[in-house]
Structures are given as structure tokens and as C-alpha cells.
Amino acid sequence: MNHPSVQLLVAFQHADGQFPSGGFAFSQGLEASSSLAGKLGVFEFAGFVDTQIRHRWANADRVALVRAHRLAGDLDALAELDREVEASTFVEGLRSGSRRNGTALLTTHGRLGTKGAAAYRAMVRNGQACGHLAVVQGLVWQAVGLDETTAVAIGGYQMVASLATAAVRLGLIGAIDAQASIARALPEIEAAACRPLADDEALRSFTPLCEIAVAMHGTSGQRLFSN
């Protein structure tokens, strides 16, 4: 009989929705896109998820996560990457959301004693680093011993799972549909994660419809999520 590896169990721990990552407060433009559907055009949750995987996560968030993981705890280099992520995130609502979400994850890992987390948290406080989510994920998941492939898998899974959770809270889909949506998205994540990345690969994204929604939504006082 085979026994589960510790690394697999560690991956479960950090991928678990119960892990206090702070992600519950963010919808990555889902709330804005769905609530403005009448003005922006037809909204369909599965299509939104596919767009986020192909045109944002695959070539932006994943790239930042992988590059951060490869920096293996070099905090100054991570801060430089963090500044690149800041410059590469066009819309303020998504930019600030990524920073806040990353800082929340960093705070949790600081309390858990994850190597480098407290020091990097101090750099964020001092304005030496931005604390973007994908950079922090790369930092802390490398520090707890997860390999690059596993870290990418968790990042992709959490992105889709958090969208599905947000969709349920917004009343767009039910809990069963949410799980069906996640299942449909998993092969897309695998396909997106297959493309090799260079150590200095620039971030790319193309989600204008979602970005317009977030920018328009930024002026609305009636919302459930931060972005």
C-alpha cells in the first residue's frame, strides 16, 4: 500500500479554502462583470472563468508566481519582481486587491513562522515591496517546501475556486454548479500551466471587458467584494 507524501499533504493544507489567506474578500472582477452585464454585454460564469485563466492567470499571475518561487527567498529580488507586477497591473481595483490579498497571506505566514514571511511583511510595511498576491504565493509556498509545479497548481486551483465561491455568494450559481464549474476549469488550468516560462518572462494579460467593469464598479458604493 502506498502512503501519501508529506509534500502532498502540505499542498492540501495550503490549497484548502479554510486556510486564512484573505481571498474571500476579492472577486477579481466577477462582481463588477456580473452586476454590469446589462451594459457590458452577456455575462456567463463559465466564460468569465475561462477568460481569467487564459488571458490573465496563465501569462500574468502564473508568471509572477513561478518567477517568485524561483527566486527562492531572495527578498530584494522578490521586491523588484513585486514592483514589476505593480507596473504591469493596469487597473487600480485589481492592483490594490492583489496587494491587499497578498499582504493578508503574508501576515498569516508571518504568524505561522514561514521562513521569509515576517521579513518580507516588514518590507511591505516600509514601502520597500508591494506584496502582490502572486509574488507572496511564490515566496511562501517555496518556503514551506512545495515544488514549482505544485505551487502553480495551487495558484490556479485557488483562483478558480475563489471565483466559484464568489459566484455562489453573489447568487450567480448554486453550490453544485460551482463544483461543476471548477471541474470544467481544471483541464484549462493544466493546459495553461504547461507552457514553459523563462526566468525573466514579462507579464502579459488581456481582459479589457473585466478591467472596464472593475474600473466602472470602483465608483459604486454597493458591492460585496473589494474588487
Partner: protein, 291 residues
Amino acid sequence: MTSHWPQARVAHALQPPQSAARSGRFELALSRHGARTHIGRQYVSYPFHMTRPFALDAAIPSLLTVYQQSSSGGLYRDDRLLSRFDVGAGASGHVTTQAATVVHDCHGQPAHQATEIVLEDGSFLALTPDPLVLFPGAACSSVTRATLAPGAVLLLSDAFALHDPEGRGRPFDRLEAKVDIRDADGRLLVRDNLDVCGLQLAGTASPIGEWKVASNFMLLGAPDRLPTPDELAALGRQERQIAGITALPNGAGWGVRCLAADAIAARGIAECLFVLAVAAAFGQRPVPRRK
């Protein structure tokens, strides 16, 4: 070819062309003399063409307008086109095109465009070409790099439209665009990169939905020479268009993402933003540009 420019700037970001590829350059240096801006050095080679510069705005004598024209029928496979704009301290320019640029079927060999912009203290440049029209099989790769000195203002627009002349919905091949904005010390302020295939813009997962024209604008520079959020809020309120206005990273200025149902609606947003940019920078509205 028109050349009043030393031949030293050939080295640039473009990859070596295949044999028989067209390599064109359009390079201008604008400088301020008294109340007016003049063209200093210039180099224009085929397929680019430039007539004389225009002083269209009597109320803004420092604002020079140049139409960047092409004597070919658009962009073709493996074209290598370089534009460079050096705007001296206090000088002001508006560089635009007369019409949209068709990108033809490139048969797997993308057309390449590179644009280098250097803005010195207190200068102004509005670089507002009409959209690329991506025909079936079109492939285009563009790189834009801009450096802004303190007090400079840059309006940068970049747009594309989808069009199949036979109305069969055939997609373009690929569009790749890289934009880097840096300050005078070389610090990266904004990076906006995209890479999208035509097939990805069909179906429910299209990042532009049902819209036909996608436009990006950046209005960069000194805050006291940029429009206010209230002034920008008017964008995208017309029919057949939507716009999202955002503060850019690192306090670089304003970004505007737009989607439009057709070229007329897209042009409306572009013209409105140009008027707002000029009015904020000079205190006077520009006259309409004839196209």
C-alpha cells in the same frame, strides 16, 4: 525618402527581417523656438510618408500637428517599421494618421512595429494613430517604449478592430503588443503587454465579449497638466461604447480601456480624450483634426 537626420539610429528593438521584408523609419525631433514648435531632425523612409507639419490650433501656437502617412496599403507580412519621436524641452506635438491601418494576411510572418519616444522637460506629445484593422490571417507585433522627463505629458493610444472583408467571421492570426513607460531615471512606471490570437476572441470566453473595437489609452505625466477624474468621467457614456478609467501604477497618470461596437464609436472616445488632454495641458481646446 526624406532625410534630415544622421543615419545612426538604425539599431533598435526589431528583429532582423527576412529577405524581401520592408524596413521603414519615421523619425522626428521636435524642438521649441519661442512660442512655436519646429521639426528639427527628421528621417522618413518608405513606406512612411510625411507632408508638411500643421499649426492647426491658433490658440496653441506651440502645438505642432503631423500626419504619419503610409504610401503602401497597410501592414504586410514581415514589415519592419520603426518610429521615433524626440520632443525637446517645452515642445509640443500631435502625431496622428489620416485613417485606420489595415493589417493584411501575414501568412505566419507578423508585421513588426517599434516606437521609441523620448520626452524632455515640460514637453507634450499626443501619439494617436487610428486603429489597426486586423484582416483574416493578420499578425502584428508592436513594441512601444517611452521615457518621460519631469513635467512632460504623453497621450498614447493603441486600438484594433476586427474585420473580415468577406463577412465570414474569419479571425486574425495574432496580435502582440508591449508598452513600457519609464521616467527619466529609467524606473519602470507602467508596463502593458498583451498577446492574443484571433480565435480567442470568438465565443463566450472572449475577453472583449461582443465588442468589435478595442482601444487602450494612457495619459501620462505631470498631474497638474492632466484632466481631472471628473472631466474623464464623461468618457464612454455614449451609446455603442464602454470605457473604464483608472489611475495608472506609480502615479503615472490615467489609463482608459475602451470597447466599442464600431469604428465611429471608437473614434468618438479617442477624439474626446484628445480634446481633454490638450485642454488640460494648454488650457485651450484643440480644433477638430481632419481625417
